[in-house]
């Protein structure tokens, strides 16, 4: 005699689930964590959100280098708050990645083992205090251009994390610009220091938007799914158009002889970007890649006793 058949619910119909997902995207509604989603959508988002989170965490280092050398208590308090924000941004993003089934500690391990990437910009050194100002103005300015459209990303938790990040990012950019304005009102040596920092950070800032559209393998699908809203080149152009007038007010020269207003379009033309350098830095051969990863590894390993102590404390008090 055979066992009675169990009354199992019918296996979910993949085509129906896909149709429901497509309809949600088409209606510009948000996908939420427990919804069915195509595996490529999930894994692509984990890759993008993890990379974004890693960038925030590694991004604490270039400016953190100046915490003990800030020129006044005021500047030090501002810089501390800013670096703490970067840590917070990383946490919001890891939290979003976890809603997709990723494990936070595992993502950190992948960063340290160089299996996942972070933004190329953080592999450049901060040589003077003017670099702190220029990072706020240009690097965080570029980040704002990238992140504002992500507040409408199709994946709910990512979009919500971006809204929090963008609210705080404006402080980052303004403190940087104010720092530079203060230096530009100072001595010739200070003005030269600002110009030197602008000369070094301008091109890497343009590279932050990623490869040109015809060489950006993941972009098209990301746009179709509403994860990304604008192409790399479009965002880069927006950033240039926003930044040129700010440079004029500041009184610095952006290091590009081809930079000029196109009267026909009202937009600024700019010179070719050195994509060989970008690819080198992404491949791990930038000026500071090894240092950044080594310090992240040390933070994980050398501070492990803190998490162990907290775990032990929690264990004692739960009894």
């Amino acid at each position: 005699m055979s066992a009675p058949t169990l009354d199992r619910p019918a296996a979910p119909d993949e085509a129906a689930l896909q149709a429901q997902f497509d309809a949600t995207i088409a209606a510009d509604h948000r996908i939420e964590p427990r919804d069915w989603m195509p595996e490529a959508y999930r894994s692509g988002l984990v890759r993008q959100i993890a990379q974004h989170a890693h960038s925030e965490i590694i991004g604490m280092q270039p400016e953190g280098d100046w915490l003990l050398a800030a020129p006044s208590l005021r500047r030090k308090a501002i810089l501390l708050a800013k670096v703490q924000d970067e840590a917070g941004h990383g946490m919001y993003l890891y939290s979003a990645a976890e809603t997709l089934g990723a494990d936070r500690a595992d993502l950190t391990d992948k960063l340290i083992e160089r299996k996942q990437k972070y933004s190329s910009i953080f592999n450049y050194p901060t040589l003077t205090y003017a670099d702190v100002g220029v990072i706020g103005w240009l690097v965080d300015g570029a980040a704002i251009c990238n992140q504002v459209p992500l507040c409408r990303s199709s994946y709910g938790p990512y979009a919500r994390a971006m809204i929090r990040v963008c609210k705080e990012e404006s402080f980052h950019q303004r403190q940087g610009y104010e720092l530079l304005m203060t230096m530009m009102r100072g001595t010739d040596a200070q003005r030269a220091m600002v110009q030197d920092a602008v000369d070094r950070w301008w091109a890497p800032s343009l590279m932050m938007f990623g490869p040109p559209d015809d060489d950006s393998p993941n972009s098209a699908q990301s746009m179709k799914w509403g994860v990304k809203r604008h192409s790399n080149d479009e965002l880069r152009q927006r950033f240039v158009d926003m930044t040129v007038p700010q440079a004029e007010v500041l009184g610095v020269t952006l290091p590009d002889p081809e930079l000029a207003l196109d009267p026909a379009t009202g937009r600024y033309r700019f010179g070719a970007i050195d994509w060989t350098e970008f690819k080198q830095v992404i491949a791990g051969k930038g000026p500071c890649n090894d240092e950044r990863i080594a310090r992240r590894r040390a933070a994980r390993d050398d501070n492990a006793w803190v998490t162990e102590a907290a775990t032990a404390y929690a264990g004692k008090h739960s009894r």
Binding site: W36, M91, Y92, R160
Partner: protein, 121 residues
């Protein structure tokens, strides 16, 4: 009888199953439960979900939530709850779950036609 091995530059150490082993450093953090965080923005408003974090216990979860989610006066009160303790409706049963309210239009005020000249209604 324990086996003996040269471990980590500390010389020969016994390694039998009866020897307690320190937890591996990188695994401690993995065991911390996930907490969902809710913040009351100001008096008079509901607590709203803002995100999640890992913490070793409830008290430290509240402290971490303070640092992570209220750096700029975003809240006057915080709730944390272990994610594992939340029971939620499933998106798979969305239709049977919420359909009963879909066809009860008479529960909405706009269902009732009242002449325009009736005041205060």
């Amino acid at each position: 009888m324990s086996d003996v091995t040269a471990e980590g530059g500390h010389g020969a150490v016994p390694t039998g199953p009866e020897i307690p082993v320190e937890p591996k450093a990188s695994t401690a953090r993995r065991d911390w439960p996930l907490y969902e965080v809710f913040v009351r923005g100001k008096r008079g408003l509901n607590h709203v979900h803002v995100g999640s974090l890992h913490a070793p216990d409830d008290e430290m979860a509240v402290h971490a939530a303070r640092d992570l989610y209220t750096r700029r006066n975003e809240g006057v009160s915080i709730w944390v709850v272990r994610a594992a303790d939340i029971t939620a409706s499933s998106p798979d049963e969305k239709d049977p779950m919420f359909a009963p309210s879909g066809d009860k239009v008479y529960r909405h005020p706009t269902f009732y036609e009242i002449p325009d000249d009736v005041p205060h209604m």
